[in-house]
Amino acid sequence: MSDAIIGGKDRIAKRFAKLKEEGRAGLVTFITAGDPDPEASFEILKALPEAGADIIELGMPFTDPMADGPAIQEASNRALAAGMHMRKTLSLVRGFRDQDHETPIILMGYYNPIYIYGVAEFLEDARNAGVDGLIVVDLPPEEDAELCVPTVEKGLSFIRLTTPTSDDKRLPKLVQNTSGFVYYVSVAGVTGAGSASNDQIIEAMARLRRHTDLPIAVGFGIKTAEQAADVAKQADAAVVGSAIVSKIAESLDENGKATDKTASMVTGLVRELANGVRNARK
């Protein structure tokens, strides 16, 4: 296997180094693997870097996404209904990686499908497919022995969510086994709900900077290019998820099937968001 494909934390570090060089924040885009179907999802995935995504978060579909709002719940349901499962998610990444050796891919989701796959086998297959990091919503540091430690040992990043409830007492525990970047969930709530004010983000960034030198990506509730730009002034990256998967939902025909507009509607939004992020500090 070519080293150019194998996943690892280096790809994430290189991407953030490049962003620093360019003097700008990055855009992290989220889509759910297999939404609305495996083929259309692959088309969308391939088109994301060119549209301006600096890092890609790929959702692993799950029946019970407890921390997600309606938009991402529905994306998960569409993917599962179209026959998506973990092995197909990994082959989606592999297909992407054959063409793109530089854009980091982070798998995001819930623990059960990984646990059932088998942690060691999953990490091996994910790394070989070109996955660079994991975000697993229902694994707090108290459960690090489950997946976080084996992931780090495998050379992949385990990216932690920090939240408005993460105070100075808790943050050291949150950043201790993390790598790649730190994801700041800017509002207490599910994905796609309200957004935080600029002042709240500035305050949170200052708090996080006291505890980590890793890049900080800020997400939850970012829907427009303006909001993305606001975040990009403060953070190292802005994460957009629900707005993008809502665009997928909007593009479907009356039977919920992908149309010839699906990929272009998504890339259209990603271009706008990328423009916002890229021009934020000018």
């Binding site: 029946t63 059960n112 229902d138 707090p140 409830t165 709530g189």
Partner: protein
Amino acid sequence: MTSSSPTLNSYRALPDPDGHFGNFGGRFVAETLMPLILELEQAYKDAKSDPAFKKEMDYYLRHYVGRANPLYFAERLTEELGGAKIYFKREDLNHTGAHKINNCIGQILLAKRMGKTRIIAETGAGQHGVATATVCARFGLPCTVYMGSKDIERQSPNVFRMRLLGAEVKPVVSGSCSLKDAMNEALRDWVTNVEDTFYIIGTAAGPHPYPELVRDFQSVIGNEAKEQILEAEGRLPDQVIAAVGGGSNAIGLFHPFLDDKDVEVVGVEAAGHGIHTGKHAASLSAGKPGVLHGNRTYLLMDDDGQIKEADSISAGLDYPGIGPEHSWLKDIGRARYEPIGDKEALAAFKLCSELEGIIPALECSHAIAQVMKEAPKMGKDKIILMCLSGRGDKDIFTVAEALGVKL
């Protein structure tokens, strides 16, 4: 991962400080909730060692819930089955008609201690929702109950009851529209309202410390029953039996008996249309260990780790998981778990109504059906103690439909 220790001196010493029962349990929640769960754990520790908390709890259990409830000798059922003597622990005689209120009193007193001003809950059959709405009315706290739209349809009397009590009942239309989805939605509410909200979980499942604290609050069932059977028979029962959905009435009955080695412990799962049909709620008999709703436990799922929908005539058992302590008790062999299908439960429902003048809830009708299998195999000198966890008034529409009767 912690492994279960085979050299335990007691079956009652768990969970460990991280909330593990052997390999089960744990704290698998979103980071936003972690500080809340740690805060709850601390508050519960403090409450446990505070005599004032116990005094308050005892006061409400006695004067509001109506405890102690009787341990009743089911004489005609015993005669009919011709074997072991059958005793019912009458949780159906509690205020609100089921065991759920025991736990709700405990949790709302905790919520008050913690200064929380809003309560949320999930409910399946509506019994936990009613119990939560009841204590919220009594203590003057606003209450939101999440309930699957499918359950709202089949448990309409309880929905109206909750509304009469001043609770807001929010229908959940995601997933299978039943208990697991109601729990997802309650977790989504909690993660959004972290400052003021206390989540009263209704069963002995979820992230640590819930399985422990729900068990402790429900152990009043087993503690009373133990005293009462000693008074009635001068000895412990040979077998304790209870139905398990999430498993709160069962763990409440079982826990005080776990170190009594001669007492056989039997949990009864809902086999719905039958295990072989795939349409059931028997996570211990037909599931495997996985992670959902904050804990590792036996779950119904497919090969990809996607959670399957459960199926049972009893909305209260219609859950694809089970409390983690039951998973542990199964794996170490201290308890056995048996499946009972819809039809057997219905037959037991009828038999108990006709012979004892007690209309049981469909949940514990599953336990009665198991008693109907166990008692005839046992000698007349043997004793079975079963938890009659709730009254069946809420189920009459479901039962009428199943029997083809138009009301």
